[in-house]
Subunit: 418 residues, 2 copies
């Protein structure tokens, strides 16, 4: 089944909002085996929306609109699309009751225009909004279907999970199975070169590589009659890619590196502490996005000054004066000082130059050293980030820290440098 | 001048990539006084791109394509658009030389297909790519113009800044002036209610409100013959909004709260340290995104356990046992312990429940206490986040910390709670 997504809203054209809804929906539709052939963005304008409907429905049988279902006069998606599909709108007692209940529960005063949201097509499907007011709508005519979803991302996702996914299953043209392989420490172009023969001959499964801030993602997907058949097509390709990329692969299930590490720490009750200079707390912040991490995360220290490094971690004053803070000796002393202080099973440190300024002779922006004390041994690893920006460098350093912890927990070798 | 943006690339339809390019371009075009009336996303497909060109050029005189200029067979934007505009492609010696130079400088081996990027229209404008290989192109015919830009965001932005903005100035239908007012501590719906009479009567300047993770943004924009006239139209409205929203406003120049705070600290050489529980280092991480902050940021401590709070900050053992860690007493002792240890001018602390679990009787998920020691006085402020997610709560707590520091630096009152 071919489909088109139409995002409605003048604010989307103004450039202040990133349309994450369309990204979410594209992914979900693909998982259902529904191809997204076009995406359109249009302002709150009846005539323009009709033009887009004309164009899209020439080629696809399913359109999904996002936004424009609210109570204000700007909101015209439902009115335009239902009229286009020859559907008359009538007041739904059920939706009206829902609106009154929702307002009471959230202490809103209902103004008259709110009831605009209770108008639904005579023949159509209504999707309850579990996270807001405006219901979603589906109408069908002559083999064409329009599904209208609300714009606020929480409402859209809640509604999709509650009922829209089930509704859409009838349009699925087969079953999709896919795996997303995550790779750190090897660039997208290198990965693509490694896999060129696989990529060049692909039809199904499809193989697509994506670069994301120092990481690389490979998506392998198949659409077959059943999920089992699709899985049987995908897995040999996944295994071959994992074989080629070796232990640069940290997940084949689209996980984040911090989640992979956090889960291993939690599962084995391995305690961890960190001390950071150039990353300014990013490692601790990433680690603590993992729910339940408080069971194993003992302490994080951001030592941004020489004084803090000396006082908090016992880094030697003379070492700092002679080597500066960006030196393997300092990374080592930070990790070991942290271990002396906390006794945590894993003690990881980082010191480096995030930029934009701060380069020293022989020490460019983007250079960092990572120390890691684990099982009585401290390693120091050099990292050279591509210096695309301060934030890019900080993120790369942080991911390298997670990669090092991940490898230590697995008993795998640490690369000499990143 | 009306325009349309066309993003080309099958990967954009698959949902793995957020189209930040289109957002960037929309903003830039508006600043030039060029309206963006449509945005389209289409796969790497000649026939579909032509359909979109047909539709868009019926209504607008300027289209800008993003992506599909690279060396591979998939990349067909230039070929399709130039053919559509009746332009023949010829090899450009200059671009070819650029490609060879670029490859030499970056130690690439040039394969034959790379020279595809040196093909340019006989009559057209070529934009040099200062961050990559493929040049941008502009062609014109019968009063219609197509501008083609590369897909990688760094290349697109670099090219836009280097030459495309200047090229597009001839399409500017007047001059835009705008201000973006940033508000913390007051929800979008409340702000909208405050400004309803202004919003309802708007034509020019336009007033638009946006919600963003606990913050609210109001954009006031005007398009007039000159920038001065547009500014004269915008500023009275901005002043009226600032008057109504009072000291919830922290910027009228679209700044981030952490940048506002960071700049004040740097300007007055006021040192700061932080200690965090539930935010896990997010305050330190946000603060250290500000370049140059190392001059004033002394230390950050993430005390995730009772033991860490006692050892690092001298929080009283019995207080923790009796009150738990989520208590105003603990926030106060953390801030004061940090001050004793570091002597930093500002010492800020936070302790709370980020969720999803961890609620206690009378202490829901989303509750936090923020302590702030400054100029010999320690305040403790209660925060109740809306608990939309763990990360939402953590971010709201962090922003509240910055808001408190910002108010203290200005000598303004701290709200009783957030």
């Amino acid at each position: 089944m071919k489909s088109a997504i139409i995002s409605v809203g003048t604010e989307l054209l103004m450039g202040q909002i990133v349309d994450t809804n369309a990204v979410y929906l594209s992914t979900e539709l693909r998982s259902l085996g529904i191809d997204v052939n076009y995406r359109y963005t249009v302002g709150d304008n009846d005539a323009r929306l009709r033009e887009i409907l004309d164009l899209a429905l020439k080629d696809v049988d399913l359109i999904i609109t996002i936004g424009g279902l609210g109570p204000t006069e700007d909101d015209m998606t439902k009115e335009t699309v239902c009229d286009y599909f020859g559907e008359k709108l009538v007041m739904s007692k059920k939706v009206k009751t829902d609106l009154i209940r929702h307002a009471a529960a959230h202490s809103y005063t209902l103004t008259e225009n709110v009831y605009k949201q209770a108008m639904v097509p005579e023949n159509g499907t209504v999707f309850y909004n579990g996270a807001g007011m405006a219901p979603g709508i589906a109408v069908e005519k002559d083999g064409k279907t329009a599904v209208m979803l609300p714009g606020p991302p929480r409402e859209l996702k809640t509604m999709f999970n509650d009922s829209v996914r089930d509704y859409l299953k009838k349009f699925s043209g087969g079953s999709i199975y896919y795996k997303v392989i995550k790779i750190f420490g090897r660039g997208e172009s290198s990965v693509e070169t490694d896999l060129l023969d696989l990529i060049d001959t692909q039809t199904d499964p499809t193989i697509a590589t994506y670069a994301k801030e120092g990481e690389c993602t490979v998506r392998v997907a198949s659409k077959r009659a059943t999920v089992e058949e699709a899985e049987a097509a995908v897995m040999p390709v996944v295994n071959e890619i994992v074989r080629r990329e070796g232990d640069h692969v940290y997940s084949i299930d689209d996980e984040e590196l911090m989640d992979v590490v956090g889960k291993k720490l939690e599962a084995d009750r391995i305690s961890i502490s960190c001390c950071e200079s150039c990353t300014g707390g990013m490692f601790a912040e990433y680690l603590t996005t993992v729910p339940g991490i408080s069971d194993v995360f003992e302490r994080g220290i951001v030592t941004y000054t020489y004084r803090a490094k000396e006082e908090e971690l016992g880094v030697d004053h003379d070492t700092l004066q002679i080597c500066t803070a960006v030196a393997p000796e300092v990374a080592q002393q930070m990790a070991e000082g942290l271990y002396k202080k906390t006794g945590s099973d894993v003690c990881i440190s980082v010191t480096g130059i995030a930029g934009p300024s701060g380069a020293m002779p022989g020490k460019p922006v983007g250079l960092a050293y990572i120390g890691c004390a684990y099982k009585g041994e401290t390693t120091v690893t050099k990292v050279l980030a591509r210096n695309l920006s301060r934030q890019w460098n900080r993120r790369y350093f942080t991911l390298a820290m997670f990669d090092i912890v991940n490898r230590k927990l697995d008993g795998r070798k640490i690369p000499e440098s990143y």
